[in-house]
């Protein structure tokens, strides 16, 4: 009794001061209860305000109970009680309103989410988006996934559509949204899958005025595969940017350094709608944007344009042309007479190295490994044979049969990731894996401008889906997969890239030298320090 009294005396004596503490403790308990209730409600979809009100009533009763349980000090506690009853009520009111607000907000979000779920088709995907959404809600520190790999989340799609709308001028939508085609295999449903039959230019006006014509041409060439290959795409992109800068004129009251970057953004969105940007293109764009924003404001337009054109030329010269010269110099040291070199697909850099080595009178022969549906190896084969190099051509299914003959494997790369993984054409990781099994050294040739700060350990999270109709083949006049879309359980998957772990790569030959795969983050750090 005394204890309880004492405690209560304590609670009452430290009334004005401590009552707040008590209340906050109770508040905290209440809030904890509420949170639990809300989590339950999300699954049940019941109105939390009801629960809230119930708990409010219960919580109102709670402080009044200890207040009334003090029979000893009637006089003192009465006013205190009064004040106690008032202040908890008063403190409750703002607390109630805050909690009520929070509850209302949560209720609103729940109903919105429920309606979205109703619209969505896949139940699995909604379940996956739920946990994605709730952690975002409770911990705003969580990093958001980039929009281009959230194709199955309608909220992200809406955001992308809004972003494209915001980039509009005079009520004309500059960058039309390209619609996905065909059934996507569920593991890759977060990626875009476009068809070559629906070109991105369907909604672009002829003549292209809002998007610069050379960018439209470039986008078309990307989507039709006329310009393919990391280096080629970057060079073509920079060429198109040169023409854009040439035709650009600063509007009045605007600064070139800021306006030109804004002008380039919708072009880049358009290009990524045609075909997702490669890592090398991303780095090139970053570099250009930095150069543009570094143009001093007092610089005249002509001078600024000239400077930018020079900068683009020097970027191409340094990072692509001279880099390939340096890489071939290092690589030729690794090619000895009598070598049997295996290459995969058509990498412009590897072809260049082999042609240079042949010119330097090295005696070697090449085995070109190819894979469907792109069959890029044929082009590599043509170039090597035209040079005079002895070549053998196999499909990737014959890899293990031919590896015993091979002394070295040269692979090209689309990008080198920060954790040492090599992102390259799909099939490269298989080559590296089998080569490792046969103890054949694997050398990856990659320029430093393709080094990327991304980290990836699997080929699922970030990849590219090509046109599924490319997999359809007609033999003897029969096309069995002609109506693949009508078969509900059939999906055609045409992946473009895959990642190779650094354990399978023995050496990376870059323009900075020959480095192990794990030194990529060092190179990135050094590059950043330089800039």
């Amino acid at each position: 009794m005394a204890d309880s009294d004492g405690r209560q005396v304590d609670s009452i004596n430290h009334s004005t001061g401590k009552i707040c503490k008590e209340l906050t403790k109770e508040e905290k308990q209440r809030l904890r209860k509420e949170k639990k209730q809300h989590k339950k409600n999300k699954k049940d979809d019941r109105g939390p305000p009801e629960k809230e009100k119930e708990k409010e009533k219960a919580s109102v009763l709670a402080p009044s109970k200890p207040a009334t349980q003090s029979p000893a000090h009637k006089a003192a506690p009465v006013p205190v009680n009064a004040s106690a009853s008032e202040s908890p009520v008063a403190a409750e009111k703002p607390a109630k309103s805050k909690a009520e607000q929070r509850a209302e907000r949560r209720a609103r979000q729940d109903t919105e989410r429920a309606s979205k779920q109703g619209k969505k088709e896949g139940g699995q995907q909604s379940a996956s988006s739920k946990p994605k959404a709730t952690p975002n809600e409770l911990q705003p520190v969580v990093k958001r996934l980039p929009e281009h790999i959230q194709v199955d989340d309608p909220a992200a799609l809406k955001k992308l559509a809004k972003k494209l709308e915001r980039q509009q001028v005079r009520q004309i939508n500059i960058v039309p949204l390209r619609s996905d085609y065909g059934y996507k295999v569920s593991l890759f449903s977060h990626l875009h899958q476009y068809s070559r039959k629906n070109p991105p230019t369907q909604q672009i006006s002829i003549p292209a005025t809002v998007i610069h014509p050379s960018i439209v041409r470039l986008g078309l060439q990307y989507s039709q595969g006329i310009i393919a290959g990391s280096n080629a795409r970057s060079v073509a992109l920079l060429h198109a940017f040169k023409q854009v800068i040439q035709d650009y004129s600063t509007p009045p009251n605007e600064e070139l350094s800021r306006d030109l970057v804004n002008k380039l953004s919708p072009y880049i969105s358009f290009l990524s709608q045609c075909r997702p940007l490669s890592a090398s293109m991303g780095n090139a764009i970053k570099h250009i944007k930095k150069e543009i924003s570094n143009i001093p404001s007092q610089c005249k337009e002509e001078e600024a344009k000239r400077r930018l054109q020079e900068c683009i030329d020097s970027y191409i010269n340094e990072k692509i042309i001279l880099a390939s010269e340096a890489i071939s110099k290092y690589a030729i040291e690794k090619i000895s007479d009598g070598d049997v070199i295996l290459v995969y697909g058509c990498s412009s850099l590897v072809n260049h190295i082999l042609c240079e080595a042949f010119e330097k009178q090295r005696k070697f022969r090449v085995i070109v490994v190819d894979s469907r549906p792109r069959l890029e190896g044929r082009e590599a084969l043509r170039r090597l044979v035209k040079k005079g190099i002895r070549c053998t051509y196999v499909l990737i299914s014959a890899l293990s049969y031919i590896l015993p003959e091979v002394s070295k494997v040269f692979l090209g790369a689309h990008a080198l990731l920060a954790n040492g993984y090599v992102m390259s054409r799909v099939g490269t990781s298989q080559i590296a894996l089998v080569a490792k099994a046969y103890n054949v050294p694997v050398l990856v040739c990659c320029e430093t401008y393709k080094f990327c700060e991304r980290v990836q350990t699997d080929s699922f999270v970030s990849n590219e889906l090509d046109d599924p109709d490319d997999l359809i083949v007609t033999r003897n006049g029969k096309t069995h997969l002609e109506n693949w879309q009508t078969v509900k359980s059939l999906g055609l998957l045409n992946l473009v890239y895959d990642v190779t772990p650094p354990d399978f790569v023995d050496l990376v030959i870059t323009d900075l030298g020959m480095i192990p795969c794990t030194s990529v983050p060092v190179v990135l750090r050094v590059k950043n320090v330089d800039q």
Partner: protein, 453 residues
Amino acid sequence: MELQAVLMAAGGGSRMMDLTYNTPKPLLPVGNRPLIWYPPNLLERVGFEEVIVITTKEVQKTLSTDQRLKTDVKMRLDVVCIQEEADMGTADALRHIQQKIKTDILVVSCDLITDVALHEVVDLFRAHSATLSMLMSKVHEFTETVPGQKGKKKAGEQRDFVGVDITGKRLLFMANEADLDEGLVLRKSIMRKHPRMLIKTGLLDAHLYCLKRSVVDFLVHNKSVTSIRGELVPYLVRKQFSKSLNSQNATEDSEKNHKQQDTHHNLELLSTSKDEALLQLARERSCWNDHRGDMSEAYHGGKLRCYVHIMEEGMCYRVNTLAAYIEANRVVPKLFEDPPIHPAAVVSERSLVGSDSIIGPLCQISDRTSIKRSNVGTSTTIKEKVKITNSIIMNGVTIEEGCNIQGSVICNNAVIGRGADIKYCLVGSGQRVEPEAERTNEVIVGSDQLMEI
């Protein structure tokens, strides 16, 4: 700017003189709109903002006064007049407006009615940096009976032989039957580069061409080329495989030696600036080739490329013969969502206007008339008890009571007397058909027109 549109509207309509001796071809009504309205409509829908129209003075006058044209067509029409008597070919006309042309051009003929997705043609032009990109369509057989036609007239048709590669996009060969003496001659250079070629004959050339700027410069230097379709296009298609084109050294030598050949090489006069070097680098590094099986690079290293888009489905008509004119009139009203009966027309309640007929503004249709599957133009007066089926009535026509008109074409300002019975006839402009006349399968034109040949 990427493309400039040029509309060729100075043609005479030489294959349907009965219709065009009084009305210039661009002003012939099709679906109650002048023929010249259709190409700008197509261009406008795609996004063009202005068009250079090459036409005669008469047409220009009508263009500026026609109210309906002014309201319907929102783009800017830059009209260039040429003398009718000068008898200019289409290439001559391009040479005439050479000053206005600053970019690549899209040439379209005024008699083209189509609903093609223009981006298909222009995409070929853009993606492959083609010199020429054109549109062709499968020929439709005309099913309607043509008035004034006596017997089948298949003999006069000259076939076009069009050779395309296996993708169906690259144009390898084009010749008209009239130009071939004994047989089709294919150069070995074509066969070596494209061993698989599809030769098609049932194609209609839509006369829609995307041409590079350098072609216009070439025309300026070569004054002998008069017609785009007749001379320029076959020349460009042939030049793709010309020996002198593919080797740089050869061009340099011949430029020094022959002044004449200078003009031919204007075609490949690409500015060898740094930008071209960049494009070349991109192409070298790209692992794409347009053909496979031989050792040459993409496009066989050729700089001149011609592409064609062949329409499989969809509507594409060239209104240059009477049969095409009738067919177009039949099909075109379905394209547009205009109300079949213009609000300004006065149609009596006791008349029967079929759902597939269209009535133009300011018409007066009296009681007990029946109009089925017909087009009636503006300001036409149709009196009582008239039966019109399957016919085309142009503007300002007066049809008296009790007439029966079937499968006919009645031109502007004609008058059909009462009780006339007209079957499968063509009544020329301003003609009078006497009352109680019975005409079948005749062409009624004025006697003064009979003198023109």
